[in-house]
């Protein structure tokens, strides 16, 4: 019954899982924020996440060291980000479609490698929870906020770091300038292609970490299509959050809390159709895109390749 849901244990459980499950969205969406602010829409995030998840999992499975797994996920994510940069910046391919190509590649490749090297679903002991001294002892709040693993904390620390880089550093200004007016940035000596290469590669690295956070920190398994489209949601979260890391945080939490709610509803066997609960954030995102985001200007060169002398 629905009253089963409103007990302290369950509510704390939902809040705590909500915080945990926002991790992959946060890494991927903040990475995507950087590349979109510089003018590149990388729609291949989900494919990169899958490759990162596989790479991280397999390395951890073989070596037993999740740090090595994380490192491999970073390298693989970075390489895929670099390829996406080459395709969309140097080759100036249509970004909405080339991203689908990168997604299909990652989806197929991670499955191929999984079937060839592992064959069956295995588990690893990934990053274990770190109870932050004193803070984790606080009743309720301690359980919700301070008993997570390192990748979860990292995702939340990334939010203020990204905000700082984007708003307070020359680097952030360059990224935004390239995204808003590449011709002007170019005339002032900023390398448009250079900045975009860096942001898209960074986006790839963070997508790789996002995938690894699933396979070696949250779920500790790998299987075919592990992300089930989370990468696409991450791309939408960037719009949802109005290209601000704080907005992305809000959107990530919305999705993850609803996911957590749905998991608990199933565990407790409460007879409400959870499918509608899962539907909610997607419908909300569309509404947010219709109403809220229209007030925020999107980077004006988003999806437009830059070429000198071409208006």
């Amino acid at each position: 019954m629905i009253s089963d849901l409103i007990t302290p244990t369950v509510l704390i459980g939902i809040a705590s899982s909500g915080i945990r499950l926002a991790t992959p969205y946060l890494y991927a969406a903040i990475g995507e924020t950087f590349s979109q602010l510089s003018g590149v829409l990388n729609l291949g995030v989900d494919g990169i996440m899958l490759m990162g998840a596989y790479a991280g999992f397999y390395t951890t499975f073989r070596t037993g060291n999740p740090w090595l797994g994380l490192l491999t996920a970073i390298v693989v994510g970075g390489l895929m980000g670099l390829s996406m940069a080459f395709i969309s910046i140097t080759l100036q391919a249509v970004q909405g479609i080339s991203g689908i190509g990168v997604y299909l590649f990652g989806l197929g490749m991670s499955d191929l490698l999984f079937k060839k090297t592992l064959g069956t679903v295995e588990t690893v002991s990934g990053f274990s929870p770190i109870h932050i001294p004193f803070l984790s002892e606080i009743p309720v709040l301690g359980t919700i906020f301070f008993q997570h693993n390192i990748l979860v904390y990292g995702a939340y620390i990334l939010v203020p770091i990204a905000t700082y880089i984007l708003n307070k550093t020359t680097w952030g200004l360059k990224i935004k300038a390239v995204g808003q007016n590449p011709a002007a940035a170019d005339s002032l000596g900023v390398s448009v292609a250079g900045v975009r290469y860096i942001t898209v590669t960074l986006g790839g690295i963070l997508s790789g970490v996002a995938g690894a956070s699933l396979s070696i920190a949250l779920l500790n398994v790998f299987q075919q299509n592990l992300t089930t489209g989370m990468g696409f949601i991450a791309v939408a979260l960037v719009y949802f959050g109005g290209w601000r890391p704080s907005g992305v945080l809000l959107g990530s939490l919305l999705f993850s809390v609803v996911n957590a709610l749905q998991v608990w509803v199933q565990v407790l066997g409460i007879p409400i159709p959870a499918d509608f609960a899962i539907m909610m954030p997607y419908a909300l995102t569309i509404l947010a895109l219709v109403f809220a985001v229209r007030k925020v200007e999107q980077p004006s060169s988003l999806t437009k390749p830059f070429e000198r002398g071409q208006a």
């Binding site: 249509v94 299909l104 899962i278 539907m279």
Partner: protein, 380 residues
Amino acid sequence: MRLPERLRTTLRPSNWLGPLTPFLAALAAFVIGAIMLLLLGANPIEAYGAMIKGAFGSPNALADTVVKAIPLLFVGAGICIAFRGGVINIGGEGQLVLGALAATMAALNLRELPGWAIILISLILGTLAGAVWGFIPGALKAYLGVNEILTTIMMNQIAVQGMNYLLRGPLIDPEQIEHGSFIPQTARFPTSADLPRLVPTRLHAGAIIAVLIAIVVWVLLWRTTLGYRIRAVGLNPHASRRAGIRVERYAVLAFLLSGALTGLGGATQVLGVHHRMFTDGSATGFTGSAGFNGIVAALFGQLHPIGTIPASVLFGAMLVGANKMQRAIQVPSALITALNGLVVVFVVGSEIWRRNLARKREVEQMAKAAQTTAQEPGKQ
């Protein structure tokens, strides 16, 4: 020796490289695939041989290939309209699911009607459901400026959750409840509603509908004012607006038609292949990624509905061949999904050479024109 002028024009790279780019892109993808096969310890020639044999080697194999190609052609024909109209519809997965769901509800509730009536009504309802699922992102894009890539992604997910809800609840096969197995699938449709088989194989009449649709789309886009306007809006919305075309209306229409054809594809799929609706919780479980692979086929067919016909057969063959290859030499069929991704990347990535060649040709022609005028000043 100087070649005749016409032959020289034909031989110039800018004139033959264009139509060949998709093939070069596919070739590049297959070369990379061969390298991947070698790394996996498989013999590429043997692997590709198993694929070709598996896809074309017998009447049954050929029929399976065409059956796999059918949904790709429906999606691809729709994509031709959408992309030509300047809207990016990546909501194919959701539109397929919705079309199939609408057809399923019709087929299950109209058991008493004669077979042809069930089929007709199911196909029409499937088309309408797809059209609605295309209209929403189209209208949001055209009138409110909401990015259609994002809305279609969201609408894919909404369609999947709707499907899961219906198949686990109201539409579940009563037998599943009786046996307590609760597999999320509907009852089998009345056999009278099966799309007719064409030859004694799995090949069903959906193939004919799909080819007819591709021809209709070609006529629509290149032989009617409506199609001309859709293409004009896609090529240059500003100029179209100046010319008095209502740009928003045609963008919405392109999206709606694209969704409608995809929805029809979903309906054809349940009536022709599965005869019931089922889910594994994700969109791919039902669609087999046809919503995405159809985009690949359309791009490969140069966004031309007639070109999309052989392209769909080719990608259908790859899907069927990959399964046979998996059984023959134990290379996972996921290889083909990865190669499809590479084909997309290479096709859109090689556009730049085509564009540069076209630009070069334009410059050459301008230079030539300037030369002629300079040589014959009196003629001005």
